[in-house]
Symmetry: none
Subunit: 306 residues, 5 copies
């Protein structure tokens, strides 16, 4: 670990008042890998197996059935961190100890049930034993269970911070008054990011928003034409997270062509996004293709030609 | 206990990062009985009485009403371990102390209610007092109570591991979007095994899957014809459990003819299954028949002509 | 683990009323290694480094500085169990998981201080995490701190038994009214063994007693000439441990010639001693010599010509 | 953090069976600063103020009265870690978060009292909140309070390890049978290092031993002439710490000339010492002199001409 | 258990305000055995092995080395209860469960040390697990450690009562200002009984007092000649225990002739003593002699010709 860069110092400055351990763990993530020092993050999350099942997640690239595959992919691509549920992290945390910051994804849902909720599947204590730098939770703003989820996040986040762990929140509005289109509406995604910040998240993950505005009452806040470009929508979401004083990461969504992914990342970078969290577009490609794509993504976040 | 065999050493290697006590208890089970040292397990579970009531479970073979019958059956058959609920284990743990590794089945359901859930009926402390090598939990992925069940398993498994006990998870998808046919669908069984691994199970028990694929989104992951043979389906379920780095046991289901059971075990063995967990097909036969069948099952898992 | 032998069943019968887990762990020790099944035990204890320092313990046989040396010596000699303090057990418990029953020596003293006491250096929880079958404590009956030590043992033993662990007590009278000669006096050693049994020990370790009787009030209980042979003194100590219903092990003391050790072991066996606990006479010899001596010791306890 | 080097991987291999979080924190320290990756450590400890008072510690170099001075000295010198008591760490942990691994010195003594003991002045929770990679304790083997100190270390170390922190033990024999000369005797220093390892330390700090042997019973283990060179004494102390399978650091002692310090470090390096822990010889020099000396010390541990 | 007798009802009336569970356990003891229903108790205590060592206790009657001997003696003699330390009770509590009320002697001393204290060797929890009706403690009024002992008894008794156990206190003044003669002085024994009552004992055990009065200040309270007969001294001690509203038992002391024992018991009965607690005079006789003597003792307490 070299001296902190100015970019990282500035980012840590946003977290004024957090415990030193939290800042040290944010610094670990911010200084690690190829994006290290830039203030931007590129993270590999592998909770697809929990969410969609193993075959839908890994059949297209069978080596990915092995937990060690993902650790090595994240390490070899020079990513900032690796995020996964308890069992998957446990299956590699010892072998790869010290090689990459880990984020324990502590609640999870699957696609077999009908209830829009998540199970708390891991604890702060688990995160400490595994040597994680952060713990992560998903919230479903809008769902009938949203307040229970907020309370679980609150409890977990409070304990995590008291033990020096950073807190990542995946903000995925759904349920309640939200139809499928609304889940990625600009106002709704921004609202989700803001809720995550208000719940105490240090790092927030959202989906790239569309230009649609779902809440009638919100429409006046979004002048026609002002958010036609993704870059502007990204900037608005970042603004919604304490005026850019929280790290907001944008997810890549389902597997697509390299060019589609890259174009989206360019806009995220241009809009001041804190970085990318790339799951299926990484582990559902053959390893070499994935490494190549991740290299391009990192380059963009480093301000190099992608 | 002789020196560990290479097969057992390799299996323990999958559990990299687990506490030494967990590995020692896995080794106790893996080195015990006739399958001892092979890396494969054959286990007798007797929770049918809880699940289906005594008469449906034992009337066909009345000596099985006595808890000691099952201990002796498991011991005399040279099985790897014996699994049962608290009361049943307590009724023999003293008399048969040291004769066979025990697995405390710590949650249970019955057939009288309508809610798809289980009651937590025993604790890690009970398991330690009874001298168990492992504790076991059932999950019903898909059911409306699935997330509560996951959280119960999480809590029990964390305490068990901290006390050096191995964790067995019975993964039985049901409820939610799953109709009866879907419960044993290939994608669903594989999904259940994967969830058990992600929740931290060391040993996973599933039902042999059919060739049916239930989730529409999963169908592309299963090319037509590729999974017509049970052996290939078994291999896929094993792959879904961390690419074969977790022990996956296949249950025998309702009582059937010896030949049907044996044919199924052959396919399980051929597909790389970690072994068999045989309840009704053992204790619902007359003792001598059961011993003979179990001997054949073990022989197959040992690679001998069955 | 084969069926328990009659000898082991009989031994377990002495522990009537103990929890099944305790019996299962006693059975693990009693069935393990070359003495397995005989009802006799031969154990390697390595706490000399704590008691006397590393050079006095290991300089004569430098490979013994490495914790793994002792695990391998105990395993390769086919001993019943290996006992050591926390740090030493931790340094091998993972690598040798499942290969030999472990006993965590949970209190320790060193030779640098002047206070006759021990520090509690490990807990029942540590023992469970390391996969131990038993936990062990030293008591110094007679010392000014004896009652504190008894209370520490009581607390540790109660917790250990509630968690299914067997309890080993090293009974070493010293201090108080006891001069150096009295520490190994027949009445005093027998008294120490009795106290250990009353405190709840399952396995008791004592030093071979001399024919000296230290307590004036005890002299009438020891007719002149009746205890001239070590064999008879051993029998009396065993009798003092609940009339032979506790396993009493005799330690080998400082390193001596093979013949001296063997002659002593013969008398211990002839007197009905439960076995030998051989530290310095094992690890302070070159490995091959140690293996040869341990083989002879085991042979004697198995009733073979030594 | 780059990929771990082979030297660091080998060092982590010594800690087989420890939790992943402990290994990750050891890796953080081992990969940090100029010694990063070499397997050797150079650490700045500043507990002199607690031990000897501020004037005796800092008057010679007044900027050192400011806690931030020490953080910056350690960071600018490229050291592996910085160790200090609670108040001093708290005074800089936020400002320098993420810049250098921290070790919370959790017990302390002062020079005002007469009892050879230490107060526990900080907890594992403090260490986590401050973002420390390790927690440290001093023991005084031999003192009348030694067993109480061992028990405090045991409790703290157990909790630290369960939370993924590494454990450093300062082993300083004193009191009891030990006069001043004995405190740095070869046998006594080696004994202290061994006790620290048995108590579960991952990193052990000792003073460079003299050629004097204090315990009469230990003299035969030290052939005359065999330990005349410091390098050989260092090698013996390292051997006493599980045959070199624990990191042993040697302290610099009172402030001396650069040449004296450098010559001692050369011998420590030649003897296989794990590194240096340099307090007074660093912060009691003017900053530029200190940086120059620390650079030379690191160079020696990196195998470069000093 | 038949209806309580009037005598037992009256005795229970003394314990007005105690929890029902305590009364139920007192009733169990008072209704048991041949003295059952009389309001008088005859109890076998076997803590001699702890106090004086095994040979001094049992060599004269070797079958008594076996814990089961004492259970059977107490049961076959039709005694009210059996009292012993943890290890000895544990060795028979299972085999003889339900055959005789048990009293766990929860603190103990031995004759090897020089400190006048006792170790707390068992807990209320132990007593409950073993199915005891009462827990017992010794106090040494006068000794330097008396207040610590009182506090231990207080804590144990409070917990015992909260769990429904009766509390027995052995009151043995010694140490401090008391020389050997004073230990059985009338005023001192009465003082001890009173202290036990004040500390909350339900049943108090004392030694038969001599006519000597030890405290100068107490002499005026004991008119010359008024206490020449043991019967009157017994009456005074009983009076000192809340005017006879506590059960006071008198111990038999060292082994003596049957006639001496019987004569003493006659006086105890005549003086209104609550019964006898007979250890060495029971188990240090051959079994048949012991049974005969105990029969005579019970007869006296039942008011039959002895």
């Amino acid at each position: 670990m070299a001296h902190l860069t100015e970019a990282v110092r500035e980012t840590l400055g946003w977290y004024d008042g957090e415990r030193p351990g939290v800042k040290a763990n944010l610094a670990r993530i911010l200084m690690h890998g190829r994006p290290g020092g830039s203030g931007r993050l590129v993270i590999l999350p592998v909770d697809q197996g929990f969410e969609h099942g193993p075959a839908r997640s890994f059949a297209v690239n069978p080596p990915a059935y092995d937990p060690r595959y993902h650790f090595e992919l994240a390490i070899d691509a020079g990513l900032s961190a690796f995020a996964a549920p308890l069992g998957l992290l446990t299956a590699g945390a010892d072998r790869y100890a010290g090689e990459i910051p880990l984020i324990l994804k502590a609640n999870n849902a699957n696609s077999l049930g009908t209830v829009k909720d998540e199970a708390v599947t891991a604890t702060v204590r688990d995160a400490l034993e595994l040597g994680c730098a952060a713990i992560g939770y998903t919230i479903y703003p809008g769902s009938d269970r949203q307040y229970d989820m907020f309370e679980e996040v609150r409890a977990g986040a409070a304990e995590a911070k008291a033990r020096g762990l950073a807190v990542v929140v995946w903000a995925y509005p759904r349920g309640g008054q939200l139809d499928a289109r609304a889940e990625t509406a600009l106002d709704v995604v921004a609202y989700g990011a803001h809720l995550a910040a208000l719940l105490g998240a240090h790092i927030i993950k959202v989906k790239p928003p569309t230009a649609y505005v779902a809440e009638p009452e919100a429409k006046t806040a979004y002048p026609a034409g002002a958010y036609d470009k993704l870059q502007d929508r990204v900037a608005h979401v970042v603004q919604s997270a304490f005026n850019g004083r929280r790290i907001v990461l944008f997810s890549g969504g389902p597997a697509r062509s390299d060019d589609d992914v890259i174009e989206e990342v360019r806009q995220i970078h241009a809009g001041g996004g804190g970085g990318s969290i790339v799951g299926r577009n990484a582990f559902q490609r053959p390893r070499d293709d994935a490494l190549r794509l991740l290299e391009r993504i990192i380059d963009i976040h480093l301000g190099k030609a992608g």
